[in-house]
């Protein structure tokens, strides 16, 4: 009886976080690393081993704290405003459990499977829509001319078929607050 009681006492953090998961929590926007499973399965399979965070050559993958929601603690996240993903796909190759599905460095493979989110241009903020040519996001994009195309005054338009949501455009955007932002795939569900 005493054992049950003291055991339950040590499981309190788990129970707390587990129940918090069911309540809608205001949290910071984040992306999962490329090749991540759908959010529900990802949370089941990710063990928080830090392999992807140590292997990331760009240091863009960080292990989440409470600011990303209690249930996401110790899972890999990318904050595109701090640093975007450079699409090297090393994290998908080191993942031991398959929470990040393996993707080769082939461009066709990346465009097909590494869908982290979708870039959205806010035309009321973007410099180029007010006659001041900027084009920084176009130059930061890893697939220029495919994912991002520029028109008159370098006004950017996003092509959803090619955009992987890597966040490099958001990192590069010189307007504050950013005129181009990534809408993460996990928020759609």
């Amino acid at each position: 009886m005493l054992a049950l009681l003291s055991g339950a006492l040590f499981l309190i953090p788990v129970i707390f976080i587990g129940f918090r998961k069911k309540i809608e929590v205001r949290r910071q926007r984040f992306l999962r690393p490329p090749g991540a499973l759908p959010e529900k399965e990802f949370k089941k399979q990710c063990i928080g081993c830090y392999k992807c965070a140590t292997a990331c050559p760009n240091d863009c993958i960080e292990m989440a704290g409470f600011e990303y929601g209690e249930d996401n603690v110790h899972t890999p996240v990318i904050n595109p405003r701090n640093r975007g993903c450079i699409q090297c796909m090393i994290c998908t190759q080191v993942c031991p459990t398959g929470a990040l599905q393996e993707i080769s460095t082939d461009e066709i493979d990346i465009l097909e499977h590494a869908k982290m989110g979708l870039a959205v241009v806010d035309e009321s903020l973007c410099f180029s829509f007010f006659g001041r040519t900027c084009g920084v996001c176009y130059r930061a994009c890893p697939y220029p001319g495919k994912a991002l195309t520029v028109g008159l005054f370098e006004q950017p338009t996003v092509n959803a078929d090619y955009c992987t949501g890597c966040g490099l455009c958001e990192q590069a955007c010189i307007h504050m607050p950013q005129a181009i932002r990534i809408v993460p795939n996990i928020d759609k569900v």
Binding site: I17, T54, M63
Partner: protein
């Protein structure tokens, strides 16, 4: 001055190596990333005199012994849950079981790594707990602090937690991880938190929230439950002692030879076992009783040899 026996020095060395290894992993990954991205010492040279550039040059020297420095550096990766040592994957036995339960899914890479600790547990039992687990270091430090506080006449509690608690934590944690569909162990296992803290300190230059839990456990160890985490709460210890119930290597005492009224082995045992009567259900193989015995009566024996002898008879 008491003389420290040789086997204890070996044990401390292995503990030190484990902690050094988990400091070394993130550093070598960081080194490899620098090496790949710049491939010259120009950028490192900009920060000369810095600790980071010192580490870089030290690792650069270290990796000259290997044919391919970058691939060797990146082949060491991970934390205690799942890591690779020079390309060989090793994973935590508890993490493996929990992975199987929380997601009905069988990642082969991960489970192959789990074989090594399971086989070692079948042979040696809970040897992990006193030869490899960083918790031993935390325990030793908090024990020293407790002694100091008692010497300063500060009143401290001592509550005995029943041993069955670890079973409750083990099964409760597994059930909860299935019910909530998420990973549950980050806030229960201090040895995992410890390695995570080392990692985030080196890679992100910050602590994670696991540090609060680690601090809480250390304070508890000092003030309320001295040395009882490993004995009666740790779920990994429960799993390992279940696997190692019929372990091959174990300690054995010839009770008939024992001096009457001698309790030296009982006094030094960190998990309150009684080697004199061969009550060694969850033995850590820390060898403290072996060196404490005044007549060298406790010996390492194996089940295999015994069975051979009985066959001969």
């Amino acid at each position: 001055m008491k003389k420290i026996p040789k086997i204890q020095i070996l044990r401390y060395l292995s503990l030190f190596l484990v902690i050094a290894f988990f400091v070394f992993i993130p550093m070598s990954n960081w080194y490899a990333n620098l090496k790949i991205s710049y491939n010259n010492s120009r950028l490192v040279g900009l920060s000369d005199g810095n600790i980071k550039s010192m580490i870089y040059h030290a690792l650069d020297w270290f990796y000259t012994f290997f044919e391919n420095p970058v691939t060797t550096a990146t082949s060491n990766n991970g934390s205690l849950w799942a890591y690779t040592v020079f390309g060989i994957p090793i994973s935590d036995p508890l993490g493996l079981l929990s992975e199987l339960i929380s997601s009905v899914h069988f990642p082969i890479k991960y489970f192959l790594g789990g074989l090594i600790p399971y086989v070692l547990a079948i042979i040696f039992g809970r040897f992990f707990c006193s030869w490899l687990c960083p918790m031993v270091v935390i325990n030793a430090v908090s024990g020293k602090i407790r002694k100091l506080l008692i010497w300063l006449h500060i009143p401290l509690l001592e509550i005995k937690i029943p041993v069955q608690t670890r079973g409750v934590v083990f099964f409760g944690g597994l059930i909860l991880s299935y019910v909530f569909g998420m990973w549950t162990w980050h806030f229960i296992l201090p040895y995992i938190s410890f390695t995570h803290e080392i990692f985030s300190l080196i890679i992100f230059q910050s602590f994670t929230i696991g540090a609060y839990f680690l601090l809480a456990i250390i304070l508890f160890e000092i003030a309320v439950i001295p040395g009882q985490y490993c004995k009666s709460i740790c779920p990994t210890g429960f799993l390992l002692s279940m696997i190692g119930k019929f372990r091959v290597v174990r300690l054995k005492t010839e009770t008939s030879k024992c001096t009457k009224g001698c309790h030296d082995c009982y006094d030094v045992c960190p998990v309150d076992l009684y080697p004199k009567n061969n009550e060694l259900s969850s033995c850590h193989l820390c060898m403290k009783c072996v060196s404490a015995c005044p007549i060298d009566n406790i010996n390492i024996s194996s089940n295999l040899k015994k069975s051979e002898k009985s066959e001969k008879k």
